[in-house]
């Protein structure tokens, strides 16, 4: 089966899973009428972000066409982008004392 993920802006390098996606699943990433197919390398829960391009460490994560964070590790296509490999510029709730 083909799973679905949504990009919110053409600049985005991540897409959000619109349903839980199994490891190795085929994902149709859509933005409006544009689509792209990728394969996940791990399970993706509903609402989580999947990298749809190779994202190098220290480069920005784009969602809504804006920078929402910086990659703290290299992120490969089909991987989850979340707190283990993304740092916010304005502080994150899981780091004590937050503000950078």
């Amino acid at each position: 089966m083909v799973f679905k993920a949504l990009k919110l802006n053409p600049k985005d390098n991540v897409a959000t899973a619109m349903e839980p996606i199994e490891k190795g699943g085929e994902v149709q990433v859509s933005f409006g009428t544009e689509t792209q197919t990728i394969y996940t390398v791990e399970e993706i829960p509903f609402g989580f972000k999947i990298a749809v391009q190779e994202i190098q460490k220290t480069t920005p994560i784009f969602k809504y066409g804006e920078i929402i964070g910086i990659a703290s590790k290299d992120i490969h296509i089909g991987e989850i982008a979340h707190i283990h490999n993304v740092e916010g510029a304005r502080g994150r709730g899981d780091i004590e004392g937050g503000k950078k």
């Binding site: 679905k4 949504l6 919110l8 959000t16 899973a17 619109m18 149709q28 859509s30 409006g32 009428t33 829960p45 509903f46 609402g47 989580f48 972000k49 994560i61 969602k63 809504y64 804006e66 920078i67 929402i68 964070g69 982008a81 979340h82 707190i83 993304v86 740092e87 916010g88 510029a89 304005r90 502080g91 994150r92 709730g93 899981d94 004392g97 937050g98 503000k99």
Partner: protein, 402 residues
């Protein structure tokens, strides 16, 4: 129908979805009479003044703005003002301040003054007599074809979940763009929710002053929270956000902001302040369901909506966060979460989740929302409008108490 609705055209050029008579006590001691008039007279709505004494001027001005805003809201066809004496009270809230506002609105209005009636018992009778006359006069207004440029909408989001930033809010944002690009007005707010994305939001300010005002507004509330020991930045995103996939504060705030669409922000308004022009406005105000909808109504929103995620709603016939906290403006619930909608189709007006399932594009659900709003503006009731209930509302006041 082609992006038209059948609305009540008002002297200021905006169109209302409803045609109420508003009874407004100018002095707090008259809340009792106002509330009873609204009960005894058909098609009447009323506002009860919050405690106005013992407050700094800034808070009195907020109350006054809210009242003037209600007078000018397009859903109000006529106004019945109640006052103790002419020219009585604080200068910025005296009777003549509001009679001037009613006169400037160009709408039919009357005033009933206790000192000129021979006391409160006579006042009740006189207000009934005058109120019935006013009612008949307002009933002569007719709906006529109006365009999106005469519509004003507002949104608050809450009970956020992953669908909020993914579909729910962007759907409202799409609709906002449609209304604003056609020449109408739209309002959004919840200053604490833009913290983390205020730099990004400020780039949409139509002028450098507006850009700075957005940043200043976020900073003000953040510092105020800190002074009481709450560090909004450090505690966000909260654990439930992280468990739901939100990674950074910027992402959370951008998800909130997506409800405003993409058009430039024409100004930063205070609570209850009416803008000078049309377009998209940010209102610097508190997010509460019992405060912000009233604010939007005073700013001029004909229709106000609550975009909801899911949250801990009961599975069987849940109650909604608020019932008609807008007094005169139709209040609607919208969601991008199909499970939320299924729990409460009797209370939720629009479900945009088809875009989440891939059964529709964002544009399609956005157009669907717009069409639904046009129907509401033309007379279809919102689900919540079937209730006859007045919530206890809170005008946003900062104090100190004097």
């Amino acid at each position: 129908m082609d992006n038209q609705f059948l609305g009540y055209l008002r002297p200021n050029g905006m169109a209302g979805a409803r045609n109420y008579v508003l009874v407004l006590p100018v002095n707090r001691s008259l809340n009792f009479i106002a509330s009873n008039l609204a009960r005894m007279l058909n098609n009447y709505k009323h506002f009860e003044i919050p405690a106005d004494g013992g407050r700094p001027q800034k808070d009195r001005l907020t109350i006054a703005r809210t009242m003037v805003g209600l007078i000018n809201n397009p859903n109000v066809g006529g106004i019945l003002l109640l006052a103790v004496k002419p020219k009585f009270g604080y200068k910025d809230m005296s009777s003549d301040y509001f009679t001037d506002a009613a006169e400037q609105s160009g709408k039919p209005w009357r005033s009933v003054i206790l000192s000129e009636c021979g006391g409160s018992y006579n006042m009740l009778g006189e207000a009934l007599r005058v109120g019935r006359e006013l009612s008949l006069e307002v009933s002569k207004f007719r709906r006529q074809p109006c365009g999106l440029n005469q519509l004003s909408v507002a949104v608050k989001c809450g009970m956020s979940d992953p669908t909020s930033g993914l579909i729910g809010n962007p759907t409202v944002g799409y609709m906002f763009d449609r209304v604003v690009n056609a020449g109408g007005s739209a309002f959004f707010s919840e200053t604490t929710e833009i913290i983390g994305a205020e730099q990004i939001l400020s780039k949409r300010g139509a002028t450098p002053e507006i850009a700075q005002a957005l940043i200043d507004a976020a900073y003000y509330w953040e510092e105020k929270a800190k002074s009481t020991g709450e560090d909004i930045r450090a505690i966000n995103p909260i654990p439930s956000n992280i468990a739901a996939g939100l990674t950074t504060l910027e992402e959370k705030s951008l998800g909130a902001i997506s409800k405003s669409g993409t058009t430039p922000i024409q100004g930063v308004l205070q609570y209850g302040e009416q803008p000078n022009g049309k377009g998209l406005y940010f209102v610097d105000a508190w997010m509460s369901s019992l405060s912000l909808p009233l604010c939007f109504t005073a700013c001029g929103a004909s229709i106000v909506m609550y975009q909801m995620g899911g949250g801990d709603m009961a599975d069987t016939y849940p109650m909604m966060p608020a019932i008609n906290p807008t007094i005169v403006s139709p209040w609607m619930y919208v969601t991008g979460n199909k499970h939320t909608y299924k729990k409460s189709p009797d209370n939720i007006d629009y479900d945009s989740s088809a875009a989440l399932d891939g059964q529709a594009t964002l544009e399609e659900v956005g157009e669907g929302l717009l069409n639904h709003i046009l129907a509401i503006a033309s007379g279809t009731l919102t689900k919540m409008e079937t209730y006859n209930y007045q919530e206890q509302l809170e005008v946003l006041m900062e104090g100190p108490f004097l």
